[in-house]
């Protein structure tokens, strides 16, 4: 019986549990059989939810799917869905923590680079769903008093992701788009990648260690002086003037704030 909102809420929570692969016993008593087991009726909805949400994950993570084959992917997606159903109503936004899930998922241990391939595909997905916004012009910075320049924190293009892996993730990914996957030498070392939207295309490239440390620090909201420290640690010859010139010529910065309170590591 459903006589008030709390009962409707309870009914919906019960069907939610059944749809997400949990116990159907709590919902079947509320369902008419009409010639079919009520659990089978609830199962039709569960099947649809798992099939379509699994398809959504496969669309976002096509190379992960190829690396593990479709059947295993469906199994992994099923386990992920039970623990992490989507919050957003837009399915392109589903799967933000799928890579972390795969990293912890015991059956995936034999593919140590799999979670990083998922991280790369998620970064591609972000870049594909966020438009480039108007870039900050270098001249805007002229208004900042010289004493405050060290405390400037930039806001970067929302489509940007920085991501480093001990594996050659971009090579693995690219190779798995081919019908016949060419041999991949996993001993060639890792990749420090920048991924972003450029017009309608999504592009990525490898960065040198200093530039990667600098831009990652900026993306994390660190002020210029702190980002420079991080970059110099990785590359003693890091040149801030050149690095900033490239940030502006590539249109990466979209805004800034002056944060004098931010602690700068020495």
């Amino acid at each position: 019986m459903c006589t008030d909102m709390s009962l409707l809420l309870e009914l919906q929570m019960r069907l939610r549990r059944a749809v997400l692969g949990g116990d159907t016993a709590e919902i079947v008593t509320a369902i008419q059989g009409e010639g079919l087991d009520p659990a089978a009726r609830a199962g039709i909805y569960r099947h649809h939810a798992f099939a379509t949400l699994g398809d959504a994950l496969q669309t976002t993570f096509p190379v992960v799917c190829r690396l593990v084959d479709k059947r295993f992917f469906a199994y992994a997606a099923h386990e992920y869905l039970r623990e992490h159903p989507p919050h957003s109503r837009c399915l392109v936004e589903y799967g933000a923590d799928f890579a972390d899930f795969l990293a912890r998922f015991p059956p995936c241990r034999k593919l140590p680079y799999l979670a990083d391939v998922a991280r790369f595909e998620w970064a591609l997905n972000i870049a594909n769903t966020v438009r480039k916004v108007t870039s900050l012009q270098a001249e805007t910075l002229a208004a900042i008093p010289p004493g405050e320049a060290a405390y400037v924190a930039f806001r970067l293009q929302p489509s940007l992701s920085y991501f480093a892996s001990p594996w050659p993730i971009d090579t693995i990914w690219q190779a798995n788009l081919e019908d016949e996957v060419p041999p991949i030498d996993l001993t060639t070392g890792g990749a420090s990648l920048e991924i972003r939207r450029a017009g309608e295309a999504v592009v990525w490239r490898r960065l040198d260690p200093g530039t990667f440390a600098f831009r990652t620090a900026l993306a994390d909201g660190l002020v210029l002086a702190a980002a420079m420290s991080a970059a110099t640690l990785r590359d003693p010859a890091f040149d801030l003037t050149v690095a900033l010139r490239h940030v502006f010529s590539e249109g990466l910065a979209v805004g800034f704030v002056v944060s004098p309170k931010q602690e700068i590591p020495r």
Partner: protein, 282 residues
């Protein structure tokens, strides 16, 4: 190149799916409108750019699938804001949603789950439709669902629930003829009687689609993955007789065929609408 056709009452459109976008952009087939799932265009994807280009030549109908108007909790305000932003960009000819719920307790289940039809759920649904129409700045059409289960306590017949919803909120009804056929078969009710029980003045759109027969459990599954079957065409003809010409959509979401097949289905729907006009005028 064909010129843009005015929106005609009784026009027939098709659901726009990504694999067909390039061909439609290149060949500009004669169609009354294009309908898309609103949630597929809420992110700034290249697909949105394609839709905005097609919008110059075709009226667009936005079909929401995730507002979850039947949830026994507050509507997702953030989702309403995104929906409104899309409406302002697309300026759609129609905006529709479903008599269903799909999210509860922070989980979105990506399915149109059934409601029990009670006075309480009617009050809740009306409140949510009022709120959504206010937030979106548009009248909504609410679609009758296809269903695979009914609750033990659900005393209000579905067409009566829809009628009362339209009366109280001023929303329109999207009459999905295939859904009536599917639910009618699954629950052994007469689809024609259902059609007769809907209020003529509220009908703002008709949906047509194919379905799948799950023979092992003797259930029809509304998968939008095949041609419209003959009994659904017959029900459509009856709907035209009762409601007059109404914008009609050919939906096809799974096992997507060549665009030509959708255009062929749309052509058949248009022929039936023409026949209806002659008969009505006679």
């Amino acid at each position: 190149m064909t010129t843009r056709r005015p929106i005609a009452c009784g026009c027939v459109g098709i659901g726009l799916r990504l694999p067909h976008v390039s061909e439609i952009a290149a060949t500009r087939p004669r169609l009354g409108f294009l309908e898309v799932h609103a949630e597929n265009y809420m992110a700034e994807t290249p697909a949105l750019d394609r839709l905005l280009e097609l919008r110059r030549d075709y009226p667009v109908s936005l079909h929401g699938v995730a507002l979850s108007l039947g949830s026994a909790e507050e509507l997702d305000r953030g989702h309403l804001v995104r929906f409104r932003a899309l409406i302002e960009r697309i300026e759609p000819m129609l905006v529709s949603e479903h008599l269903a719920w799909s999210a509860i307790g922070g989980a979105y289940l990506n399915d149109l789950l059934p409601l029990p039809y009670t006075e309480e759920s009617l009050d809740l649904f009306c409140r949510h439709v009022d709120e959504a129409q206010g937030a979106l700045g548009r009248r909504l059409l609410i679609e009758n669902p296809s269903a695979y289960l009914r609750y033990r306590y659900s005393p209000i017949p579905e067409p009566e629930f829809m009628t009362e919803l339209a009366r109280r909120t001023g929303c329109g009804i999207l009459c999905d003829v295939n859904n009536i056929h599917v639910s009618g078969s699954n629950f052994r009710f007469d689809p024609m009687a259902y059609l007769q029980a809907l209020p003529i003045e509220a009908i703002g759109e008709i949906h047509l689609a194919g379905h799948h027969v799950a023979e092992d459990v003797d259930i029809l599954i509304d998968d939008h993955g095949s041609r419209v079957v003959e009994p659904v065409w017959a029900l459509y003809a009856a709907a035209l007789r009762r409601f007059g010409p109404v914008p009609t959509l050919i939906e096809w979401d799974t096992n997507l065929p060549a665009l030509e097949v959708l255009l062929d289905e749309a052509h058949h729907a248009e022929e039936l609408a023409h026949v209806h006009r002659y008969v009505a005028a006679a």
